[in-house]
Subunit: 254 residues, 2 copies
DNA sequence: TCCTGTGTTGTACAGTGTACAGAGTGTGTA
DNA sequence: TACACACTCTGTACACTGTACAACACAGGA
């Protein structure tokens, strides 16, 4: 990552850089979806034999991990660290940015929850989230707990959202995916599922940007619950298409 | 699922039942971990040719989906539907049960977020969760939103937890996995990560039962935030090993 | 200069999902 | 009762996977 030019090695120069391998791998899944990813495909795109890749990556699994790290690094972390804005706005807009980033690489989003996220970019996200929550007045201990809750909520939401697609970019627009969900839900037998039947329109929007922000807002509410006074800021909801203005009808009663 | 004996088909009787195929598949991943799952392995265990499996399942992907459905059905849904207990206790203890179930089938937990969860068992969980939240006094719309937030939090937490293992049951005990996380975190360079460095012990416990319940509690807090009065029930935390009694130091101030 | 560690190649193996053709089987209909 | 068809299952086969192994090409350190 930070090692620009390490001490000279023996033997022939490497014809590639690890970053170029990741470039090729991300390009492949961005073009062909998750099933297109293979050691052979990456090697082929780089013009080398499959085995040669193993000088750069230890295994197929390791390849998947660096891909996740790369895409994680594409999110706009400055939204989280910027000292100017309010802590809540910082968290919400970064979460939004991270989701958008992952949705442009849906095949990568599918890899999110299958390997440990211990790379530097993942650590950096945790670090800055904790910082924002400490700014919010949480104790270090609670800030740590809340950080993980937020990570789980954000990554889980994106993963479940992408799981309903084939992972081949570009994803259908949100409206189309919601409509597909509505059709699928309308087809079920309603007699056994009273609440589900009454909530089909609502449940179809579980994968929506609105729902994403609502979940995060409720989680943040709960995390700062004990802090006085509950701050009445206007709940940013950046670039939400505006549908369902009543999204935040259940707000703090302060 | 509910079709005990459908209308008689032509041709020779099926030598198996779809449920037996799922039995075999679950047994395989429970014995050999996620990598052991293959169409050939399932067929072999059932004493048939690989292709014969395609009479029962449409594809390898479909096989994975019925496996998830099966394990989802193993969770104790009665904990959620029981009318006697308080809604919050019902949700918390069901979430606990679901996590325990998934942790005994870690290879299945790894499949959780890679395919749409549209089976009857998944729908049933949503249905009953919504019921509990409506009991809590939420509007149907908010109950629907909160249902999904909870699903995301619970499944996301389990998936991320299992992602740090090889998925081969039985998982190491929680304490060992936490210790492993602590060692890994202690090895990083601390100068760039002040909050992380100060929170290593805390972050090591991100995968703990305590953290799981804390996250869920904060989310529930946020979801019922606007409802008066915030109910002072004692936060069950079933079967938590008792470590970290200060888990709920940040509670509502009522 | 040679030695030695490294990058890359070619070959190879065991394993994967599943398509295809055919044989056997039992039920609904003529 | 006989036929035809729908269905299950077999054997074979293909294209593909991750990666181990041996051999060769290169270049820095002694």
């Amino acid at each position: 990552m930070s090692r620009v030019e390490s001490q000279p090695r023996r033997g022939p120069r490497r014809s590639l850089d690890v970053e170029q391998v990741v470039d090729a791998a991300v390009a492949i899944v961005d073009e062909g979806g998750p099933d297109a990813l293979s050691v052979r495909a990456v090697a082929g795109r780089l013009g080398m034999n499959p085995n040669a890749l193993y000088t750069y990556i230890a295994s197929r699994a390791a390849l998947e991990r660096v891909i996740v790290e790369r895409v994680l690094g594409e999110s706009d972390l400055a939204l989280l660290t910027g000292p100017a804005e309010h802590w809540r706005q910082r968290i919400v807009s970064y979460a939004h940015s991270l989701r958008e980033t992952l949705l442009t690489h849906p095949a990568v989003a599918r890899l999110l929850m299958t390997a440990p996220m211990d790379g530097p970019n993942a650590l950096r996200v945790g670090e800055e989230l904790m910082g924002a929550l400490i700014d919010a007045g949480l104790s270090p201990r609670d800030a740590g707990r809340a950080t993980y809750s937020i990570i789980v909520q954000v990554l889980g939401a994106v993963a479940l959202e992408v799981a309903e697609t084939d992972g081949r970019p570009p994803l259908p627009p949100e409206g189309a995916r919601i409509a597909g969900r509505r059709d699928a839900l309308a087809a079920i037998d309603h007699t056994d599922w009273p609440h589900t039947a009454a909530a089909i329109d609502m449940m179809a929007q579980w994968i929506s940007t609105d729902q994403f922000h609502w979940s995060l807002a409720r989680l943040l509410d709960g995390c700062v619950y004990s802090l006085a006074p509950p701050e009445p800021e206007p709940e940013p909801e950046p670039r939400t298409p505006g549908a369902h203005a009543g999204a935040d009808q259940a707000r703090r009663r302060g």
